[in-house]
């Protein structure tokens, strides 16, 4: 496949993927209400229309047909505004279709061809469509009849251009969801220009004034034309510019010259419906036939769709949409590259600024230093921006969970509400990729095992509707994500018995050897499942195992807490970012190290008298009555250090998971944001080191790992 084709495919997948996401999001937001509002339906229609169009171009027939079918449904709903569309059924259909698309997109992404057959789904939707249509009929509502003879399917080109110029008055109406209608109008004018002798149109400033779009939508786009063409020819010219309908009529020379101040003649007008020209489906045409039968006046269409009564049923709750931020998608590799590049720039900068050539006696460098300071400021700002580019809000991940709750709870027949808190919390992109699966498992677990059946809940005096809370927050350089439910909670005794049966705990241990929290942790062991029956969703004992694996990959931990009868909560604690940490730079001998700021409790200047030394060399520091183990970096790593006496250096009191140790170093150099890089695989793992980083001057510092340093 050519490169061009590849990039087209990428674009196709990306754009339609986004559309699907948007579609699902809107659907999920409205799933609990009893109808979609007009804006939603319009949005759905647009989404399906776009997918249909682009799939057609890519020749993915099944996708195109399916999109077309669903588009029909939305078109029908939008135009006929049936009162009793079974809302949940419609939601189901939307999901079924979007799932189909997603699966196909995945197929395509993996280099395959879309092979799935959409005909069953199409039939299904057909049934649904005729169902909602029938319901209307049964309620004596007028179902638009197909009127073949009126549908203009052919145009005859009239006698070749009359000798005398003719004058025409044209009104064009656009669908009221057309975007940038002024541009459409301009395109129309542009193409007419070549064929006509003289032309005037209103509104006039269509290309410069965007507000004219509203005017055109509201009142139509009006053109006065003097040309040597017949009415039929004109009508053909007018077609194909996404015009909903045009209204062209011959007028007199006087009327032409009078311009737009005089009301245009409507009587005897020859109305042409352009719906069929644009390849729209038959329902659409029918719909327009209907409209035409009414007394057509300019703007009728718009007014009709906004008629008060209809609005009341469809536009029930017009919630304010979240303010749209504009985004572009960039390949992560490019961002990584950018990050490497900025690192190089910083190095190059220091090479220039500290160039030995500048060390000439008596050289006046005042201006040089001024400009240098400026440059330094910009590069460091740039560094900050590039680093922040990797941060993304959790919003999308959380939204996906909404879908999981919807699907799972319906499958299990449980009524469950998902509450989301703090979904805008930002974390590094890599982390987002790793937590989606764990979260999904945790939520499924909560629904399946946590939330009880309705009867049970009622008996326990709880709200029959279960509640799952998904919460994210930042705390001390970690992102904390918790999934909690108000379900039955876990029974430690039962868990313990099960763990023993499955051989997770040694036989000789009794339940009293473990705290409740330790017992809850058993559920993360591979092969542990407390559910008596293996359900479709969970119970195989693999879920929590996956959660742990994914978590460990990003250095996170899982905490489980539960109260029997009241519910459980699982909390993920993950480092905020894998790439950037705030660190404290320190020096031992001529070697520099970085310690993560968050693990530092305090810096202490100590005197020899505060240190206790064991005969075997172990040292302990007394800090306000507490003794902490001391690790001297120079001794641990055999670095020649000029600092021997304990009062010349500085102690860093660190804490990792409630374990505190003191690290003794020569001196502190300051705090800074650092980019974490792994130590190359070639070098075997060294205890107490978790990575390395490049400093501003291009040198490399090693990052201390508090968790293993005492080992």
């Amino acid at each position: 496949m050519s490169e061009e084709m590849d990039s087209m495919l990428d674009m196709y997948l990306y754009e339609n993927g986004q559309l699907l996401e948007q579609l699902e999001l809107t659907t999920l937001q409205k799933k609990d209400e009893d109808s979609f509002d007009e804006a939603d339906i319009n949005e759905f229609f647009r989404v399906m229309h776009t997918i249909k169009g682009s799939s057609g171009i890519m020749m993915f027939d099944d996708i195109m047909k399916l999109a077309h079918k669903l588009e029909d449904v939305f078109f029908y709903i939008r135009e006929s505004k049936p009162d009793n569309v079974p809302h949940l059924e419609l939601v189901d259909k939307i999901f079924a279709v979007s799932d189909f698309f997603r699966e196909e997109f995945d197929n395509i992404k993996e280099g395959g061809e879309p092979t799935m057959d959409s005909s069953d789904l199409i039939k299904d939707i057909d049934k649904f469509l005729s169902k909602i249509k029938k319901e209307i009929v049964s309620e004596d509502k007028e179902l638009p009849e197909q009127e073949e003879e009126e549908a203009p399917t052919q145009f005859y080109i009239g006698a070749v251009g009359g000798e005398t110029a003719k004058y025409y008055y044209v009104e064009c109406y656009y669908r009221n969801d057309t975007e940038m209608v002024n541009i459409h109008a301009y395109a129309l004018v542009n193409s007419l220009k070549e064929k006509v002798d003289e032309m005037y149109y209103t509104p006039e400033d269509i290309i410069t004034n965007e507000e004219t779009a509203d005017v055109i939508l509201d009142q139509g786009f009006r053109i006065l034309i003097k040309a040597h063409i017949s009415l039929d020819e004109l009508n053909i010219l007018l077609g194909g510019f996404d015009v909903e309908s045009t209204n062209a009529s011959e007028c007199s020379k006087e009327e032409f010259e009078a311009g737009f101040d005089v009301p245009a003649p409507i009587v005897g007008s020859d109305t042409i419906d352009l719906g069929d020209l644009g390849g729209e489906d038959t329902e659409e045409a029918e719909q327009k036939e209907e409209e035409k039968k009414d007394d057509i006046t300019p703007g009728d269409y718009v007014i009709k769709s906004k008629s008060a009564g209809k609005k009341a049923t469809l536009a029930k709750s017009k919630k304010s949409k979240a303010p749209a931020t504009s985004f572009i998608s960039v390949n992560v590799n490019k961002i990584d590259q950018l990050m490497d590049l900025i690192g190089e720039i910083v190095i190059a900068e220091s090479v220039v600024l500290q160039n030995p050539d500048l060390n000439i006696e008596g050289l006046d460098l005042t201006n040089f230093h001024k400009s240098a300071a400026q440059l330094t400021k910009f590069t460091s700002e740039m560094q900050d921006v590039i680093m922040s580019m990797r941060m993304m809000p959790l919003t999308n991940t959380f939204q996906k969970m909404n879908r999981i709750v919807f699907d799972t709870s319906r499958k299990l027949g449980k009524n469950i509400e998902l509450k989301m808190i703090g979904e805008t919390t930002e974390v590094d992109k890599n982390i987002i990729e790793h937590i989606s699966d764990p979260l999904m498992h945790m939520i499924r677990n909560s629904i399946d095992h946590g939330i009880e059946e309705k009867e049970e809940r009622e008996a326990a005096g709880k709200n029959p509707k279960g509640l799952i809370t998904l919460e994210a927050k930042n705390e001390a350089g970690k992102v904390i994500i918790s999934v909690s439910d108000d379900g039955g909670g876990m029974n430690p005794e039962k868990l313990f018995a099960k763990a023993k049966k499955n051989g997770i705990v040694p036989r000789e241990k009794s339940i009293h050897d473990y705290t409740n929290k330790e017992i809850y942790q058993f559920i993360t062991a591979p092969g542990f499942s407390t559910n008596e029956q293996v359900t479709e969703l969970s119970g195989r004992g693999v879920g929590m195992d996956v959660v742990m694996k994914n978590l460990q990959a990003i250095g996170g931990i899982l905490e489980i807490d539960s109260e029997y009868g009241k519910g459980s909560s699982m909390t993920l604690k993950i480092p905020l970012t894998l790439a950037i940490i705030s660190g404290i730079l320190l020096e031992v001998g001529n070697q520099r190290f970085v310690i993560e700021t968050n693990s530092v409790k305090e810096f202490i200047n100590v005197r020899q008298s505060n240190v206790v030394k064991e005969p075997d060399g172990g040292e302990y520091l007394n800090v306000r009555g507490q003794h902490y183990m001391v690790v001297r970096l120079s001794e641990k790593y055999h670095i020649d250090s000029s600092v021997e006496s304990i009062d010349e250096g500085i102690m860093i009191l660190t804490e990792y998971e409630e374990r505190r140790i003191c690290i003794f170093v020569d001196k502190l150099l300051g705090g800074q944001e650092i980019v974490v890089k792994p130590i190359p695989d070639y070098i075997k793992k060294v205890s107490g080191l978790s990575g390395c980083t490049q400093l501003g001057d291009g040198s490399i510092a090693l990052i201390l790992d508090i968790a293993t340093i005492a080992g």
Binding site: M339, D340, L341, G343, E344, I347, Q591, R592, K636, Y637, H638, I639, K677, P678, I679, P680, D681, Y682, I683, K684, K685, V686, S687, L689, C692, Q694, G698, S699, I700, A701, L702
Partner: protein, 175 residues
């Protein structure tokens, strides 16, 4: 990277020995101790002057540490120490040859770069000592004759791996 390599190739004496296309390879030669060594050119990414090196504690003595290669962290090993020879002082003539062996990028610290030469396969002699267990010989797979001189041809894979591999394997067994 590629550019520097190109320069090196352009400067060598392909033209002079151009007739000997059959079964000949190009080697980058360098001096370490009193001997000249050769490493096949296809492994060489680039050559750079000595850089500030960040030492890593608790690793083999010949791994001198890490250097910053335009934002990439690259480990460097001292070839002389690797050959169990006396360490030497780094100076302006000291070079780092950046090699890429099966996607592992590593810097080799050598005393001086010598030349790029073309050695015909038939001019390579298998060292008689290959069967003995003398440590330094195992990285050398052949003696390449260039005129009167003899270059010890190195197997870069063994140079950077070998012992390390066994260390890694041992580490896995512990797990």
């Amino acid at each position: 990277m590629a550019e520097e390599k190109d320069v090196v190739i352009a400067a060598d004496d392909i033209e002079l020995e151009g007739s000997a296309i059959e079964d000949a390879k190009q080697y980058m030669t360098f001096k370490s101790g009193s001997e000249y060594y050769g490493i096949e050119l296809k492994y060489v990414n680039e050559i750079m002057g000595i850089q500030p090196i960040t030492a890593i504690p608790e690793v083999e003595d010949y791994i001198r540490g890490l250097i910053n290669l335009r934002g990439k962290i690259v480990p460097v090993i001292d070839v002389r120490i690797r050959f169990k020879q006396e360490p030497f002082e780094y100076n302006d003539r000291t070079c780092i040859i950046i090699v890429n062996v099966k996607n592992t990028v590593i810097g080799l610290i050598v005393e001086t770069i010598d030349d790029v030469v073309t050695i015909k396969d038939k001019d390579i002699e298998t060292p008689p000592s290959l069967t003995t267990t003398k440590a330094k010989d195992k990285y050398v797979y052949g003696f390449g004759k260039v005129g009167d001189e003899v270059k010890l041809l190195l197997n870069p894979e063994k140079l950077i791996r070998d012992e390390d591999m066994s260390a890694i394997d041992a580490a896995y067994e512990d797990l």
